[in-house]
Structures are given as structure tokens and as C-alpha cells.
Symmetry: C2
């Protein structure tokens, strides 16, 4: 009994996102269903480090929940994996201090975004990478990434539908991109991210890679604090919640 922290992975393809919604298949919903069964009908609420949208994947999402059941860590892991659907996998379960909070205690989050950068689409990657058939200038995108690192007001790069109150200042510790085997991998590591922020950033970086904008536009766009000055939010299916770090 006590509070348990779980690191989980999921394939976002067949979920309507992380957060519970009535009559929809969600990650939270599937995990809570298993916990309810294990607790003989008692509702057990899980708290996640962050929500992910429909189609977004996770390699290292973290959740916590409280239980009165006397099960040790490896027992929890086995029991959960045995009952969860095959698109959710529990990597580890750890008993933590009752004060631990999967959302409030986060000190760093990391997201990766994958682009399949070749002319022909790849059927087997259609749910796991964004297919982008045009050539990209990697150096320009890397240069643009440099401008993103540091503490900035990211209003321009956040969904106008964002419900979060408070300021939109966040610190990005690392923004980078690399190219290998026709794949571009974007890496963003920071104190926190606004709603849709990574997907809007990638969209603008691709504009820069194509020469539609210059790397030096980044500070100007940040300064505008206006979502309307940048283009569309890129598709969800190339995005991975990669890692969550606690203090």
C-alpha cells in the first residue's frame, strides 16, 4: 500500500489521447479500468506527468496512483502488464513518498519528433513518423534550434486554444535536430511545454529547412507573442513524449 510511480509507454495510434473522455478509448481510461478491476470496483484515479493528444506516442510517460493493496513493485508491474491492452506497456513501478506528484514535481520534460524525409511514403511508418517529401537544409534548422534554447515567452508557439492560465514563459535546455537514414529527429528538452508547442515549433523549423523562413526569424517570431504569425500545427503522429525527469 502507498503511492506508486509508474513509467509507461504507449502507441498513441488507437487512443483518443491520454485523458479520460466518456465513451472514448484513452490511455488513462484503460489504466484506470485495470486498477478498478484489481481493487474490486473501487475507482483509483491516476495522475500523469502530462496529457498527450490523439496519435501522440509515449516512451516514458510517468503516472502515479495510491493503493491500499499489498503488492510489491515487480508484482504491480506484472499484474498491470498482464491486464493492459497490448498498446500500453508498464516499464517500471516504484513505491514513492506519499508527497510525490507525477505532474507537479516534474523538473524537465523531453519530447522527440520524427520526420520521414524521402519522396515515397513508407506504409509501415505511417503512424510513427510524419512523411515530408521535400529536401531540408539541416544546417539552417540546427541554427534555428539555437535561437529556441533559453528562457523565452512562447506565446507565438502555443495553441490559441490553450486553457492554461498564467505566463507562457518556458526554458528550453536543448533544441536540436539530426538526420540519419532519411529520418529527421527533433529533440526538445525543457522545463515545460505549452499546449501544441512542440508541434508548432517543428512546423516552423520545417519552413526554415525549406527556405520559406530564415533562422533569424525565430527571435522576431518569439517577440510577436502571437500564434497567428506562424503556420499550422504539424500532425500528432510523429510526436513522442520521450522522458520525464523529477527532482
Amino acid at each position: 500500500m502507498g503511492r506508486f510511480k509508474c513509467t509507461i509507454q504507449y502507441d498513441g495510434t488507437l487512443f483518443n489521447g491520454y485523458q479520460v473522455q466518456p465513451n472514448k478509448r484513452t490511455v488513462q481510461g484503460e489504466i484506470e479500468k485495470v486498477l478498478r478491476k484489481m481493487h474490486k470496483g473501487q475507482d483509483i484515479r491516476i495522475i500523469g506527468a502530462g496529457r498527450t493528444d490523439a496519435g501522440v506516442h509515449a516512451l516514458g510517460q510517468v503516472i502515479h496512483f495510491d493503493s491500499t493493496m499489498e503488492i510489491h513493485e515487480t508484482g504491480w508491474k506484472k499484474a498491470l502488464n498482464a491486464q493492459l491492452p497490448d498498446d500500453i506497456h508498464v516499464l517500471s513501478v516504484e513505491k514513492v513518498h506519499p508527497d510525490f506528484h507525477a505532474r507537479f514535481d516534474v523538473i524537465e520534460k523531453e519530447y522527440h519528433y520524427f520526420i520521414l524525409n524521402q519522396e515515397t511514403p513508407d506504409l509501415f511508418k505511417r503512424n510513427y513518423m510524419y512523411h515530408f517529401p521535400y529536401s531540408l537544409d539541416m544546417e539552417k534548422m540546427q541554427e534555428a534550434c539555437q535561437y529556441l534554447e533559453g528562457t523565452h515567452d512562447f506565446t507565438t508557439f502555443s495553441s490559441s486554444k490553450a486553457t492554461v492560465k498564467g505566463d507562457k514563459v518556458r526554458t528550453i535546455y536543448e533544441a536540436s535536430c539530426k538526420w540519419e537514414d532519411n529520418q529527421v529527429e527533433f529533440i526538445f528538452r525543457g522545463s515545460g511545454f505549452l499546449y501544441n508547442m512542440v508541434r508548432i515549433l517543428v512546423s516552423v523549423l520545417l519552413d526554415i529547412g525549406q527556405g520559406k523562413r530564415e533562422p533569424e526569424d525565430i527571435p522576431i517570431l518569439l517577440e510577436k507573442r502571437d500564434r497567428r504569425v506562424v503556420g499550422k500545427t504539424i500532425d500528432a503522429h510523429g510526436l513522442y513524449m520521450w522522458k520525464v525527469t523529477y527532482g
Copy 2:
């Protein structure tokens, strides 16, 4: 108008196999549905190089069909890809002689089978590789592969439910396996394959890799001509119809 040969790829995960079945989603069914729509309700039958079971993928399946429509090759490719679901992709369309037959004219077929050989499963590969957590002796498996090459009666390695009449003698031109990044890839290239043959062969090769059998058992097993002397047919989702060659 005339006869058209198409090379197609599909992700077998969400299909009940290649062949049309009433009220089931199949590869043949989806393609014929698109062709029927293009031909204003007229049924157009497609012929495939081979059938694949539910869960089996294809990188290079070949089909043919006849049409009275005046569309050139690239027009066919575009029209089909625009209307097909996103788990089928047409790689190429070629106008062929009216005598060409996608099944009867095959001179060589190639199948690959992928194993994820690490302790922990990988969620993102669950539909694309068979997860095998035990260590494998690659040299022994390679040695066993040598015994498979050549012309043999493969009755032992064919489903007892096989409906094909006639002899079970087939020629394997290449049987091999390689290990890279925790993945084992089996390659089989031959004149033809019996029902479930590749999946039964891989199952026996894994027995050999684990030391449950010896490479020298292969000629003995072939000699028995009895499906019951070998173990289960391995899962479909690691199998890929890789390439079909015509004379």
C-alpha cells in the same frame, strides 16, 4: 485498356488476410472495391502472386487485373493510391501482355521473417516482429539454413491443412539469417512455398538456435515427411512477402 500488373505493399495488421471473405476486411476486397468504383459498378477480379494470412505483411506482392479503361500506368498508380486505405500502397503499375499471370508466371518468391531478440518487448514493433526473449546461437541457425537450401520434399514443413494437391517438392535457392541491433532477419528465396512453410521453418530454426535441436536434424526431419514431428507454426506478424520474380 488491357492487362495491368501492380506491385503493392500492405501492412497486414488490420486485414483478415489477402483473400476475399464475406464481411471481412481483406487486401483483395479493398482493392476490388476501388476498382469496382472506378468501373462504375462492374466487378473487376484481381489475381495475386500468392495469398497471405491475417497479420502477414507485404513489401512486394504482385497482382494483375484486366480493364477496358483508358488510363496510362502512372494514372492508374495515382488513382489507386488516392482511393485505397492507408495500409495498402501501390508501388508501380505496368501494362503487360494479356497472357501475363501474376500467380502462374512466378519463377521465384522471397519471404523475410523478423524476430525482435531482446528481453523486453517493444510496443512499437508488436505487429511487425515476433518477440523472442531467449538467446539464440546464430551459427547453429545459419548451419541449419544450409541444409534447407536445394530441392526437397517439404511435407514436414507444411500445414497439414494445406489444400494444395500435388507434390510438396520445392527448391529453396537461399535460406539464411542475420543478426543486427537485436533483430534476427530470416531470408527465404525459392521456387515456391507450401502453406505455412516459412512460419514452420522459422519455428524449427528457433528450436535449433536454442539448442533444443541440432542443425543436422533438418535432413532427418525432411526425410520423415510428417508435419507432426515439428513444433508449432510461429505467429504471422513477423512474416513479410518480400519480392516476387517473373520469367
